[in-house]
Structures are given as structure tokens and as C-alpha cells.
């Protein structure tokens, strides 16, 4: 990609698409950063948040953390397989990643259902507003990542022409994972 003879050139190892994904992730850091900063100062500034947080299910969230961490691992295995030209390994690992994403969303849906059944809706107070907004926005990102990975998977069924996209979709997927790594303790464990 960066092998054009008629350009000034990039630092070693950097490609245009990778650079673009990082720029995009920078703007995403600001979205979740703004949200988390707001949550943090509200929480430190008022009483009763830890009590409200007790109503959440750490079990669901811990399993979901495990699922996302595993899917990060499988997507990176998919990238290794892609580099080796191993279409089979790529498809298996990418498929597992997609399954992991879907599993995460399924568990999340189950969790929402139990909470709403127990009477905790987005309108139940400021903690629940933050909880549903933060996890909901994150869930949408997971959904987006699943779609991206499916697109890459479908393209990789026949050829390895667009295989660099495995790395790009993977970068995004890891970012979504990192966001969850922080949401988990912020919402459930503290």
C-alpha cells in the first residue's frame, strides 16, 4: 500500500489505512473519555452510587469480560493466520471472534432484561442513566465490530486480497475491548 514510488513516504511499518484507524480511535477515545470523565466526577461528587451499583450482576459482567478478552485473543490469532496466508486459521479465528461478540451482546441483553424486570430502567436515577448510556454506547460499538468482522470474514472466504483489513478491524475490536476493561470496574466493582 505504501509502496507507491510517487509519494514522500511514511515511517517504517505504517500504512495509510492503519494511520486512519488510529485517527478514528483518537476521536473515539474522546467520546468515551468524555463520558467516563463525566461519570467519574458525578460519582465522586455525590453519595449513594456504590449502593446503586450493588444491584448490578458482577457475574454477568465478569463472564462478559472473559468473553471479550478471549475474542481479542482470537482476533489477534486471526491476524497471525492472515500474515501466514493460512485462510483456514483466519476463518476459524475470525468466526470465533464474531461468535464472541454475539455472545457478549446476548449476555448483555439478558442482563438488561433482568435489570429492567427488577425495575431499574434508564429513568431510575442518575446511576442508571450512566449505566445504560455507557454500556449501551459500548454495546453499539460491539455490534459495529461484529459487522466489521463479518465483512472481513466474508471477503476472506475466497481470497486474501483484502487481508490487511483483518488488522484494521482487529485494532477497532481491541479498542472496544479496552473500553470494556475500564467500564467493568467503574460500573460493577467499585
Amino acid at each position: 500500500m505504501s509502496t507507491r514510488a510517487d509519494v514522500q513516504g511514511l515511517p517504517a511499518g505504517l500504512t495509510g489505512p492503519k494511520l486512519a484507524v488510529w485517527w478514528f480511535l483518537a476521536s473515539e477515545i474522546m467520546v468515551f473519555g468524555g463520558l467516563i470523565a463525566s461519570y467519574l466526577v458525578f460519582r465522586l461528587g455525590g453519595p449513594g452510587w456504590a449502593e446503586a451499583s450493588q444491584h448490578l450482576s458482577v457475574t454477568f459482567a465478569a463472564v462478559n469480560t472473559l468473553v471479550l478478552l478471549t475474542s481479542s485473543y482470537t482476533v489477534v490469532r486471526a491476524f497471525v493466520a492472515a500474515e501466514r496466508g493460512d485462510i483456514g486459521g483466519l476463518r476459524i479465528n475470525l468466526g470465533l471472534t464474531v461468535l464472541g461478540g454475539l455472545l457478549f451482546l446476548g449476555i448483555k441483553a439478558l442482563e438488561y432484561t433482568t435489570e429492567i424486570r427488577a425495575g431499574f430502567t434508564p429513568g431510575s436515577g442518575i446511576f442508571w442513566s450512566f449505566y445504560y448510556t455507557m454500556t449501551g454506547l459500548h454495546g453499539l460499538h460491539v455490534l459495529g465490530g461484529v459487522v466489521l468482522n463479518v465483512v472481513v470474514l466474508v471477503a476472506a472466504r475466497s481470497s486474501l486480497e483484502h487481508v490487511h483489513r483483518v488488522e484494521l478491524a482487529g485494532l477497532y475490536w481491541h479498542f472496544v475491548d479496552v473500553v470494556w476493561i475500564f467500564l467493568f470496574p467503574l460500573l460493577y466493582l467499585s
Binding site: M1, P11, A12, G13, L14, T15, K18, L19, W22, W23, L25, A26, S27, I29, M30, G33, G34, I36, A37, S38, L40, V41, F42, L44, G45, G46, P47, G48, W49, A52, V58, A62, T65, L66, L69, T70, S72, Y73, V76, R77, V80, E83, G125, I126, F127, W128, V163, H164, G170, L171, H174, F175, D177, V178, I181, F182, F184, P185, L189, S190
Partner: protein, 98 residues
């Protein structure tokens, strides 16, 4: 397509991630001493995030441009959070319970 750059041992990183997840969960279950538990919980979260970013996202192998793109937003988030403290954390009027 970048080919042939170094790979970290992804499986080892994954095992570390699982171990840290366990440590964080265990800390949250220990009764009493919330202060220490919170430090452990958030320290493991930071280390987990660093492991993912440095190894899985290959930040270890990237040029300075990528470091700048990834770190500058964090600086701005930190500035925003700090500037919000006086109005929302040290704010005198009582805020209603959540």
C-alpha cells in the same frame, strides 16, 4: 500490508489478562478495606488495558506518530476531567441520591 514484523507471545499475554481479571475479581470479593481493593481493581484494569494496547494493538512496534495520536487524546481527557472537579466533586450543594 506490513509483513514480517515481530510478534509478541500472544498466548502468554492472554494468560496474563485472564490472571489479572481473576486478581481484580478476587480483590472485589475480599470483605472490608475498600480502599486497597479499589487500588488493586483499577491497577489491574490499567495493566490489562496496557497489555492489550501494547501487544494486541501492536503499539510497541509502531512509530512515534501513532504514539502521539493515541496519547494526545488521553491528555485532553485528563484535562477535561480535572477541570470538571471543582464544579461536580467539590461542589457545595448536596446532589440528590442516584
Amino acid at each position: 500490508m506490513t509483513v514480517g514484523h515481530a510478534h509478541p507471545n500472544y498466548t502468554a499475554v492472554f494468560v496474563w489478562l485472564l490472571a489479572l481479571l481473576g486478581v481484580g475479581l478476587a480483590a472485589s470479593l475480599v470483605p472490608g478495606g475498600r480502599g486497597v481493593a479499589l487500588v488493586v481493581i483499577f491497577a489491574t484494569a490499567v495493566v490489562k488495558a496496557l497489555l492489550v494496547v501494547l501487544n494486541f494493538m501492536h503499539l510497541r512496534f509502531e512509530s512515534g506518530v501513532i504514539y502521539a495520536i493515541a496519547l494526545i487524546p488521553l491528555v485532553f481527557v485528563a484535562i477535561l476531567a480535572v477541570a470538571l472537579f471543582p464544579d461536580f466533586v467539590w461542589h457545595a450543594a448536596p446532589r440528590g441520591a442516584p
